[in-house]
Amino acid sequence: MNSVLELAFANLTSPMILFFVLGLAAAFLKSDLNIPEAIAKGMALYLMMAIGFKGGAGVAEHGLDATLFLALATGALLSALLPLIAFRFLISTTGLSRVDAAAVAAHYGSISIVTFLAAVQVLNSAGIAYEGYMVAVAAAMETPAIVVALWMAKGRASSFNSATMREIAFNGSIVILIGSFIIGGVTGKEGLQSISAFIVDPFKGVLCLFLLDMGLIAGRGLLEGRRHFTPAVIGFGIYMPLVGASLGLAAAMLIGLSPGGTALLATLCASASYIAVPAAMRLALPEAKPSLYIPLSLGVTFPFNLSIGIPLYLSLATAVP
């Protein structure tokens, strides 16, 4: 257990976390510090391109095996299952409306790619290997939760038509993640080498700057959304990732992922979306309150995973022999 604490401490004092905290602090101090929208979007594209490519190159190097498909299917299944659980919890503990509960549930079934990136960084610094295709699993987990949540919200799903589905399926982040993954797979180690000075070396630094932005947005969202934040809602934002992670850990062991891959699947299950799902919710469930689900996901669950969650999931994943 000692090493868990060490890991957690090392994580808490990593530049990544500290830049997130700086963003939060700047928001709470009402500083006018801000990152231009185009830069924030550019960094998001960069991070997804890089993580996708590296994942694909990893697969190219280590070869494909059956677990890839197993992992994809497991991820999709978990993404569909988690909203059902989240919805139950929310309805029975928080007093949120059906529509709000469904919208929040969609976020917790889907995933946050930045949380995934942070977990990958922790694995890298700890020198723990993981399956390169986990980034494809992440992409596969984005959408099922949305479909399930819309179905739960029932009656309200009138605007949930094929155009919406198409938009969700081919949304920019999925296309760049999967596209880069495939390119990484095709061009392999050599391709990775030729552009690694762009997508590998500066990666962690860019992630720091991006987390500063996340901190700013999370802090401002928390200030704006304060009124919705009952203890029951905040509580959900903290125990739901633990529930998700537990399921993820169990499933990962069942299908035989490596300890690193197990930690990543747990992290994906624990993480909550704050980019793709909100956009889908505004289209399909406009009555649900964005000032509730965005700060809950970004201001409560994201920092929880970043600081405590990831080291915890990792130590659990590596503890089991």
Binding site: A40, E224, P278, A279, P286
Partner: protein, 103 residues
């Protein structure tokens, strides 16, 4: 210079809905429209600011469309149906144009 009276419809709507609004304008053959990015704003549903945002949620775009008076209602009705459940505001005002074939 001879000018012709027309109506200008201004639609402030949250960004994820933009595509739907433009499709609606296309369907009703609005002739043309322009989308202007907004930077920040406040309405019934709270305030927002573009800086630092990655996704489209939490942003509002302004779409305007010059049309003949005769088509205003035809467009406003479905627009209202679309926007009413979402975050948004619609205004109509008078303008003159110098080329009338355009609209």
């Amino acid at each position: 210079m001879k000018t012709y009276p027309k109506k200008r419809i201004d639609i402030m709507v949250e960004a994820p809905l933009m595509k739907r609004v433009l499709e609606l304008l296309d369907e009703h053959e609005a002739g043309g429209y322009t989308v202007v990015p907004a930077l920040a704003g406040k309405g019934n549903d709270g305030s927002w600011h573009r800086d630092g945002l990655v996704g489209r949620v939490g942003a509002v775009v302004q779409i305007f469309c010059i049309v003949d008076e005769s088509r205003v209602d035809e467009i406003l009705d479905p627009l209202f149906a679309l926007v009413s459940r979402q975050i948004g505001v619609v205004t109509v005002s008078d303008v003159s144009v110098i080329r009338s074939e355009h609209f």
